[in-house]
């Protein structure tokens, strides 16, 4: 329990805290994987980030110890943690197969190189003499290896990695909080501000009790405190901007982008804003892209080999595609996928039988044919199958069902041959299709599938898609009401979109193969909100309310043209010019070009 004593004074977290999961592993299994365990000094010496609140309260130590002893007694009731003696097979695969070397990192080499050389530079130059900020913003979608990259690079450079984690109110802290009246409650944001303040003034070395000042230190902020409301966000923003301006510890701030999330979600907007303000405070930025399909496949195959799981190439391909460039999700899905319902097939790595009975492997593949439609984060992939059916519009060649004399006859112009597929509603249900993406995808792609002369068809299709859009818009408004409402509007919208496309496409283009594209509308929405943010940032007023449309258009149509016309030259000017280029680039929507540089194939949708 002496270990816990140390924690009282030095760290706000308990012993489950781990700077990197591998340190945990080396601690459990000292003999295995020795090559891994000694590469990163941080594994041996855990960084100690004292909690200022506790450190300052050292006069209260006795009191705290007292309270703490009570806690010990409670603790003794429990025994050893279940996790502490587990074998390797009981880990999550994302932890177990965490990349240990630059080679294993599935991230684009150029991006990794960028990050690496940035850190090299900051670590090489004596402190305080570096031009520019010591803060690097790494942004990107969830699960593209932002943290992993920093960890690997830190160990490669032999630097000690310190992570900021939102402090945990452990049981004893709560206890102390309740029993010692002198201690006031600090919010997470307060704690974060204190922490940043300390780092700015003293760096991390001074706070490191073990005095290991020779090794260089990298600070990672992976877990920004959640801000609730605009004013809290602004405090966070201010505090990070200060950090970017003045810290001398090389710091990586990891920010997760929210792809095509509801633009009504303010967090996404704020995160974008935060990045912009950090950049204008001098921080460098590296934006990570979704990981390419091929890199994910390579990683998945490697894991399969190590886990002795025999997974067909097509399955790996499907999992990779369905993950939408999110490698963590791909690995997690693979772990689930490798659970073989058949007892003999499930081989834990401890029980290493190298070969497989052939017929069982086959059986496995057939039984898992439905994988793609059931798992995988990227719902759009599960849609593709369905979309293909709708767009290709396969019909019987003649009316096979003898038409009932009494039944209502429609005119030739309105009649269609029977579908050569299940009813659209059934297909939609199987594809787990959500109405909005379906409508957007159909809208994006349908013209490719109409024959060139069929303008009337295009007219029909467009009108039905418009109707579906209207239904969906209403759906959004009534979202909070009872679910029955949602149901009818949602399914009506999806049916109208799909059936409109099927019915309208009377003269399908001769069957050519078309790749299905992701809706451009999404990208446009994204760039438009980006530009809007950019515009708002350039306002020279300090009060920042929620952006209103009129404000933005005033800025765009009057403010900026006037500024240009007057030939406004001042300090802020440079910023404007730069960001102008940026927004122009974004408007051209050539975001793919970035991906093209990759050594891997481009995913074409």
């Amino acid at each position: 329990m002496g270990k816990r004593d140390a924690i009282v004074l030095s760290s706000s977290d308990d012993d489950d805290y781990r700077p990197s999961p591998r340190s945990k592993r080396s601690y459990e299994k000292p003999k295995s994987k020795s090559s891994v365990t000694r590469t990163n000094p941080s594994r041996a010496k855990r960084p100690r980030i004292p909690n200022s609140r506790l450190a300052k309260q050292s006069s209260n130590v006795d009191e705290m110890r007292l309270a703490f002893r009570d806690f010990d007694e409670v603790l003794n009731g429990f025994k050893v943690s279940a996790g502490s003696r587990k074998s390797n097979t009981k880990e999550l695969w994302v932890d177990k197969h965490r990349p240990c070397s630059l080679e294993e990192l599935a991230v684009n080499k150029k991006k990794v190189e960028e990050v690496k050389s940035w850190f090299e530079e900051r670590l090489r130059t004596p402190k305080g003499e570096t031009g520019g900020s010591s803060v690097l913003v790494i942004s990107g979608p969830a699960g593209v290896g932002k943290s992993a990259t920093v960890h690997v690079i830190a160990s490669k450079l032999g630097a000690q990695l310190c992570e900021w984690n939102t402090p945990t109110p452990t049981i004893w802290q709560e206890h102390v909080h309740n029993s010692s009246a002198g201690m006031s409650y600090t919010s997470k944001l307060d704690e974060f501000e204190n922490f940043v303040e300390r780092v700015r003034n003293y760096g991390l070395i001074s706070s490191s009790l073990n005095g290991n000042s020779k090794s260089s230190i990298i600070l990672v902020i992976d877990d920004l405190p959640v801000t609730n409301g605009r004013s809290a966000f602004e405090r966070l923003q201010r505090c990070l901007v200060l950090l970017a301006r003045s810290t001398r510890v090389p710091t990586a701030i990891l920010i997760t982008d929210y792809g095509n999330e509801d633009s009504s979600d303010l967090t996404a907007r704020w995160m974008e804003e935060l990045q912009l303000s950090l950049e204008s405070a001098g921080a460098s930025k590296v934006a990570f892209n979704p990981i390419t399909n091929n890199s994910i496949k390579r990683t998945l195959s490697r894991i399969c080999k190590q886990e002795l799981c025999n997974v067909a190439a097509e399955e790996i391909d499907l999992i990779a595609k369905a993950s939408g460039g999110d490698i963590r999700h791909a690995i997690t899905s693979l772990q689930l996928f490798c659970l073989k319902p058949n007892a003999e097939l499930y081989l834990s790595s401890s029980n290493s039988t190298p070969s497989y009975p052939k017929e069982n492997a086959n059986e496995l593949n057939t039984s898992s044919g439905g994988f793609s439609s059931q798992y995988g984060r990227d719902e759009t992939l599960t849609l593709f199958h369905a979309l293909g059916k709708f767009l290709h519009n396969k019909r019987e060649t003649e009316n096979v069902v003898a038409s009932d004399q009494n039944a209502f006859q429609v005119g030739e112009k309105f009649s269609r041959l029977p579908f050569k597929m299940d009813s659209p509603e059934k297909i939609l249900c199987q594809a787990h299709g959500q109405s909005r993406p379906i409508t957007d995808f159909l809208h994006e792609n349908v013209l490719d599938f109409l024959s060139d002369e069929a303008v009337d068809d295009a007219w029909t299709v467009a009108s039905y898609l418009g109707d579906a859009d209207l239904l969906l818009a209403t759906f959004r408004r009534t979202l909070t009401r009872h679910s029955e409402t949602e149901n009818v509007l949602q399914s009506a919208a999806a049916s109208v979109a799909v059936r409109g496309v099927l019915y309208g496409n009377f003269h399908p283009s001769p069957s050519r193969w078309h790749a299905i594209r992701k809706p451009k509308l999404w990208q446009i929405d994204h760039s438009s909100s980006h530009n809007q943010n950019e515009l708002l940032r350039q306002r020279f007023t300090t009060d920042v309310g929620p952006p209103s449309l009129s404000e933005v258009s005033v800025i765009a149509t009057e403010y900026r043209p006037v500024l240009k016309w007057v030939g406004y030259r001042k300090a802020g000017d440079v910023g404007i010019l730069e960001s102008e280029d940026d927004s122009v680039q974004r408007m051209s929507m050539d975001e793919d070009s970035e991906i093209c540089e990759d050594d891997d194939d481009i995913e074409d949708w």
Binding site: D16, D95, H329, F408, E412, S415, R416
Partner: protein, 333 residues
């Protein structure tokens, strides 16, 4: 199957059947075979990855998670499982404090077993609370795993989705629901005619919870399950009646269709009730493709207006009129 899940005398006769017949074992869960078979492997071997179960209501998501947790943890369930659902307070502070404290708690478990945090109806958590969950999920993955259930996975923020394996549940098929109903009907000795069960399946629309509730309600109200009783209990317009309205429109008997509508309206069904049934009937009615498309479109629009507050009888008549116009337009000359 029934006996394994019904805890004999517990609760007496007014215990809800959805609870009484909630499967206790993963293997008893009906439908979604592929998903359930994988959960079964987890129940046997442990090392549950973080999971998101997503799908429409009443398809067994909550049931699966509870059964899985029970099978994994057995006698330790009480101390090693933290259940939070939408009715609990799940603001940022709860996530930060309660869940983190639970994650740090020491519990002795057999190898390969982890503490489990169950977050039911996760899509109703605020995104801030979900944000706060993100790191906890990662840091304590060696001792604590998460199982989330939600209706639409897209309402779970991406960083959480990224850390979980996604298991999608679909609506149950009519056969699957019927199978389960037969088990319950047998165990409770409910007198029924097959049409009665069909009616229950229609009203349930792939939702097992609804099916069991409607069955129990019909039984306790009338002691006999036939069509009439089911639709009376469920307070839904009788589908046959609505179907006749549509047939009349298609046959060009607009007057008859309106008469049928008036009768329904006079019975006290709200426009929303009527239109919901109407939409479902149209979806399955065998008619010309063009007409089906137009009918669905117009029904959607009418529904939209009703949602906007124009829930009048006139709107419903107008809808029938629009159907007729579509029919006239398309008529063979």
């Amino acid at each position: 199957m029934a006996s394994s899940s019904s805890s004999a005398a517990a609760g007496g006769y007014d215990m809800p059947w959805v609870e009484k017949y909630r499967p206790n074992k993963v293997s008893d869960i009906v439908g979604n075979e592929d998903a359930v078979s994988r959960l079964q492997v987890i129940a046997r071997d442990g090392n549950m990855p973080n999971l998101i179960l997503s799908g429409p209501p009443g398809t067994g998501k909550t049931t699966s998670i509870l059964a899985l947790a029970h099978e994994l943890l057995g006698p330790n369930y009480r101390e090693a499982v933290l259940e939070l659902n939408a009715s609990d307070d799940r603001g940022i502070d709860v996530v930060r404090n309660k869940i983190k404290m639970f994650a740090q708690k020491k519990v002795t478990l057999p190898p390969g077993r982890h503490k489990i945090v169950i977050l039911d109806e996760a899509d109703s958590m605020t995104s801030g609370a979900q944000q706060a969950l993100r790191r906890t999920m990662e840091i304590y993955s060696n001792s604590t795993r998460f199982a989330l259930a939600c209706n639409t996975s897209s309402k779970v923020i991406e960083p959480i989705q990224s850390r979980c394996a996604l298991v999608r549940f679909s609506r149950l098929s009519d056969q699957e629901i019927l199978g389960r109903l037969m088990v319950v009907v047998g165990a409770e000795k409910v007198p029924y005619v097959p049409e009665g069960l069909e009616a229950i399946i229609f009203t349930a629309d792939g939702d097992m919870r609804q099916a069991l509730n409607n069955l129990q309600a019909t039984y306790s109200g009338f002691r006999f399950v036939n069509q009439e009783n089911v639709f009376k209990v469920c307070d839904q317009p009788h589908p046959l009646h609505v179907k006749n309205m549509v047939r009349h429109v298609l046959e060009g008997k607009f007057d008859d269709a309106c008469l049928g509508l008036k009768q329904l309206y006079d019975l006290g069904y709200s426009p929303t009730d009527i239109i919901t049934t109407l939409f479902r009937i149209i979806k399955n009615y065998d008619m010309a493709e063009y007409l089906k498309l137009e009918f669905m479109k117009e029904t959607g629009f009418a529904h939209m207006r009703i949602c906007d507050g124009v829930g009048s009888y006139l709107q419903l008549c107008g809808l029938l009129a629009k159907f007729s116009v579509a029919r006239e337009t398309a008529k063979a000359t």
